[in-house]
Subunit: 354 residues, 2 copies
């Protein structure tokens, strides 16, 4: 493509502070690798917009950003001012569902310069992907409450797995595993306790695996799998899980590599029928917002994931390498990583290394 | 009580190997502290029993063990020979439901002699309890499949929370927190994604908390909570979660303290209407069964939890102290902890230190 149109949504809190650094680095990489990026900025999907308009997004949000090649997203949410079910379900989760971004993809990688919370692990020891189903499963809206305010009160909520939904995420995960040197896939299950949906998940893993004979695969129950993340992070290559299990593993994984502050993520519609969203794993962090000290690496790394998704692998790789070199320099690291740099010094550092 | 009747079920695999050591240590502690324990052995809830009788337990299992003061349980399950839904649901999960053992309780404690997988953590730094709801929640049997073997195929499974079920586990957790010096409780939730059951859980935490004004409490979404287990295990005192979240946290917690091989657990009916089950967290471990090398500490520590539950705190404490002293001696540690002892040498070591 001769140019890519990117919808830019900074959102709330530190989203607004890390976004300029994400864009700075994207521009540097685009220039170097002769990629043309056009940025359109939008102010919705934020508390500010909600305050003015009484809703998180305009009625025609789909027309506004649905035609873009990708969405570059900061962070949304401000629990003290606005409940999550309005802010998150009115933006991020809407994107996932209505743009059918059924893959949530996150790297788990121990980077240089980031002290490992796991004893004796060095950069290179931990390097895998978590592939999360992003549209169904445990995050359903089916259920309700009966006998309110009595002793008989109860609530139920359904977990929902469709053949279409399960097979396509597994296919994506197996394809990813097949493209990697280790060709290894791990499936997260809990079929010994969650006795209807999880055995179905296992059944589909077995069926889909047949099309990928070169991929070695195994499965673990989610309880022991979280234990293995801590004790044997070197076992993993591609890990696939349901919406909830993927959510848990893709926070736990980055924690095992030192911090969720630098982790990126993609909410991907692989077919390209709709734009995909790239955003840092961290949230809007009201506690440190406004101080200019937020770590911009998660945002910047998300930019690299976006370029890779767009097919610009060289530009993407140059950003990831620049991140690694930047993290090696204490003076360019932000305070959360024991450095002294503020948000923009760190961002400039990466941009210069690109 | 002048004597306690204990139902002893060794079960499968290494359950049979660690049980004699668990009993050896219980006997030593009972003798020293003048507690009278009577052991009745049962061969059901095992693969061997299933092979002979075509079911995991006799029809009158409740009469056989329902009158005992507690059940001391090894391990059950042998996935290569018998599916989990028969072995586990036919024994352990049956006990939990039919003996209304609505509390699953596990300590998370970094012990001397166990290398910490978390960098820089020392014994004493990590010491908290996970309280898990053990009868309802995500482990329901409500749900099913529609349109099998077609493109429209889907499965659903309900998560169920009752007022009675939620309130009683929260009450237990708050009571436990109140009895500890830190008086701190953490609730595991996911109300930003699981939008019906989890907000209800949060609502009940808030309501029950009112009766415990001295307990400071907080809550985290399960994804970031697993991250905090790795990054800030010192934050926790009592952590309470639903059946699934508690299951995950009570494997992850022991992993953060080095090994699930030594962790004990109690499946408790606090009212004492039914016997409670005490068992090691590890399973039957077919891969190492029959070699006499299994670590018996999980079984032994479960014995200490049982004594504490029976009200014999001194005897219980003497076992925990003996475990600590044993773990300090490399020659008494089993191989999984870098020692050379076999199962019985380790068990004898603890018994002598009691
Ligand atoms: C055996 C299995 C069903 C069980 C559970 O998930 O409850 C186990 O993991 C446990 O924690 O006791
Ligand atoms: C914001 C929240 C609903 C979300 C989720 O659980 O999906 C978040 O944790 C994430 O992983 O993007």
């Amino acid at each position: 493509k001769d140019q890519y149109r990117i919808a830019v949504i900074a959102g709330d809190g530190i989203g607004k502070e890390v976004m300029p650094e994400g864009l700075r680095v994207l521009e540097a990489a685009a220039k170097k690798h002769r990629v043309k990026l056009v940025f359109d900025h939008f102010d919705f999907a934020s508390y500010d917009y909600y305050e003015k308009h009484g809703q998180m997004m305009p009625d025609d949000w789909k027309e506004k950003i649905g035609g873009h090649d990708a969405i570059f997203f900061g962070a949304v949410g401000w629990p003290a001012k606005i409940p999550d079910h309005i802010s998150l379900w009115g933006s991020l989760i809407k994107f996932r569902r209505e743009f059918d971004q059924y893959v949530n993809l996150r790297p788990v990688r121990l980077m240089p310069g980031v002290p490992s919370p796991l004893a004796g692990r060095k950069p290179g020891d931990i390097d895998f992907w978590v592939v999360r189903e992003n549209t169904e499963g445990e995050y359903s809206s089916v259920g309700g409450r009966m006998f309110p305010d009595t002793e008989r009160e109860f609530v139920t909520q359904q977990s929902v797995m469709t053949r279409v939904g399960v097979d396509r995420i597994l296919k994506f995960a197996f394809e990813l595993a097949q493209s990697r040197p280790k060709r290894h896939l791990t499936s997260a299950t809990k079929s010994n306790g969650i006795s209807i949906t999880m055995p179905y998940w296992d059944e589909r893993v077995e069926a889909v695996a047949k099309s990928y004979p070169e991929v070695k695969w195994d499965k673990y129950h989610i309880d022991i799998l979280t234990a293995h993340f801590v004790l044997h992070p070197d076992w993993f290559d591609v890990v696939v899980g349901s919406n909830l299990f993927g959510d848990i593993l893709s926070d736990l994984g980055p924690a095992c590599t030192g911090t969720i502050g630098i982790a990126p993520s993609g909410n991907i519609n692989p077919e390209g029928d709709f734009p995909s969203v790239f955003e840092p794993v961290h949230g809007s962090a009201p506690d440190i917002a406004g101080q200019g000290i937020a770590n911009p690496i998660g945002m910047i790394w998300s930019g690299a994931m976006m370029l890779e998704h767009l097919g610009e692998k060289q530009a993407a790789d140059s950003i990831v390498k620049a991140i690694e070199r930047t993290l090696e320099e204490r003076t360019l690291r932000t305070r959360d990583l024991g450095g002294q740099a503020d948000t923009s010094a760190c961002g400039k550092g990466v941009a210069e290394m690109v």
